[in-house]
Symmetry: C2
Subunit: 354 residues, 2 copies
Amino acid sequence: MGKIPAHRSAVTLRDVAEQVGITASAASMALSDSSRISEKTKTLVRAAAAELGYVPSSAARALRNQRAGAVALIVPNTTRHVFGHSYFMHVLTGVSSVANDRDTQVLVSTNSDEANGLAAYERVMRSKSADGAIVTSAAVTDPYVERLSQSGLPVVLIGNFPYLPDSITVGIDDVAAEAAITRHLIQVHGTKRLMHVSGPLDHQTAIDRRDGFLAAVAEAGLLESSLVIEGDFSEDAGWQAVRSLGQGIRDIDGIVFANDDMAFGGLEALTDQGLTVPGDVAIVGFDDFGLSRLTTPSITTVSVPAEDLARVATERLFDIIDGVSDGPAHQHLPVSLTLRSSCGCVPKGAQPHR
Amino acid sequence: MGKIPAHRSAVTLRDVAEQVGITASAASMALSDSSRISEKTKTLVRAAAAELGYVPSSAARALRNQRAGAVALIVPNTTRHVFGHSYFMHVLTGVSSVANDRDTQVLVSTNSDEANGLAAYERVMRSKSADGAIVTSAAVTDPYVERLSQSGLPVVLIGNFPYLPDSITVGIDDVAAEAAITRHLIQVHGTKRLMHVSGPLDHQTAIDRRDGFLAAVAEAGLLESSLVIEGDFSEDAGWQAVRSLGQGIRDIDGIVFANDDMAFGGLEALTDQGLTVPGDVAIVGFDDFGLSRLTTPSITTVSVPAEDLARVATERLFDIIDGVSDGPAHQHLPVSLTLRSSCGCVPKGAQPHR
DNA sequence: CTGAAAGCGCTTACAG
DNA sequence: CTGAAAGCGCTTACAG
């Protein structure tokens, strides 16, 4: 009693206004630099706001403006296992940086368990906690992605969703990229008997990369001598795929793994069997989220610009939220081939240590 | 005109109430299961809400209740580099799972650049976008952590902050853990000339782990023959530390790396120089965020329960928000030693493939 | 030009 | 017991 609680004393616009001797309305206009308010008053109000440490209430603003001032990053739990931690950190970083520039909060919805009937991220949108969403799911079978993208709410998907032609997407051309790296193996390193270890084929990314592999192999007339094994993007799956061939692995001279994690596992399995990489078998991965340059040998891979994808997707999302709806519905960002040792490009030991 | 926009038609409590023929007030009470409302009306209201797809406006609720219904996970950008992606995904997962159970949103503030004077996360709190914050910074020098923890706002820190005795923290006992794993190297594997590669010594974690190492070495009477090199938790630093000794590395028979990433780099450097691990030199790491079991040899390490830390911290945060302020100010969760090949425990090749 | 009311969507304290 | 007003903190359309 008599003591002012240190933290519960939220400073409101009214406090600022009173200090200057005007109404909250006027103070509001002053802070938004309205031409109705004199420069003198504006200066006074700004000073008072700074002195009192005024920060607008996000709730009041959201309610009044009918805008949350937040975007949601939605991560279906299955996706996390499929794409790994680094991918999401890159995406989160990209989303955050764009959102920060717009003074917008980032809400992460991992949908840990879809216990409550309504998917966690559906609630986020319906409660208007966020003005729009970035979705990173890739499972072809995820019904929520479809619902969300058709809800009319501002949503941008990262990846490719050919079965949702009306959605807005930002991705890479997985087919072309996987074809390109496969061609590299064939044309530069002369591999003739290739294996592809794919991702889970209920994921568009996995489908596309496999198709890219098959296209490159077919155009080189090597379809007959090639094979595809389905994995699940995990390091373990790469290991299993190599092992599953038994001694047959010795007939293979090139392996295109659909991501780096599987390449790590495959590399381990090959080494365990006394095969050298790239000497006996050349291998390549996909993603380049940070580990592929650290293995021995380092992994040749396709560098996916995850952070840029997120950044572009978020900018697109803001455009949609703001009613700017031009721009291509489906965008592809360029990727680059990162040539390292595992394909035979950089001689072992010759590469600088990072 | 005449066409009802599909998505902007937010259903409010008033819509629900009208359908039942009561006031919004009554509908509100019905949905919150107030004893003032008859069972019959409650049933009607619930049905109407379900039919119309009513979800309460988070902004209106927040404004009225003076509660955001969200917690913030604050990640100073320096920290991300220091602890890596996996650590944050574990923390995020832990925070999300507890927040989900409480129907609370998770807001991630990465404070990408502290351009706007006020740190991004200070704005989050001041604008009442979140009711409390989990902070994962570890830099001893971070002034914001101190300000935030002394702001009176509900804040729980993950880690140890001895210089902030009034803060609420959840961490592990880094000193004891590093001492324990060092003792393991000495007592079980008989190492006599030990090196410690520490983290950046302006981080409490780095200081504590170094102190743990020194304590164990001292109690074994090996202080004379031991040395400490400061790293920065990066894989590269581990590599550099080993290299920096030149041929002197051949006098070392045990290395305690302050985290796994540095152990990876160190392992590579050792192997490059023709030294075998654990044959010539036994090494151990710290963290166990997923990669240490995949290297060859796999890395013996201290398993840090990052997700549990986050979970406990978040539960604590909710208690504080709810005014429950008992419980220890500084909590330590137990850690476990995970014995693998790099210390010499599991004979090479004998371990099952993950 | 400027003052001050209305209203965003809730919840609960108050009046009847 | 129950109906309906008041008010959370903003912003802007409206009245003067």
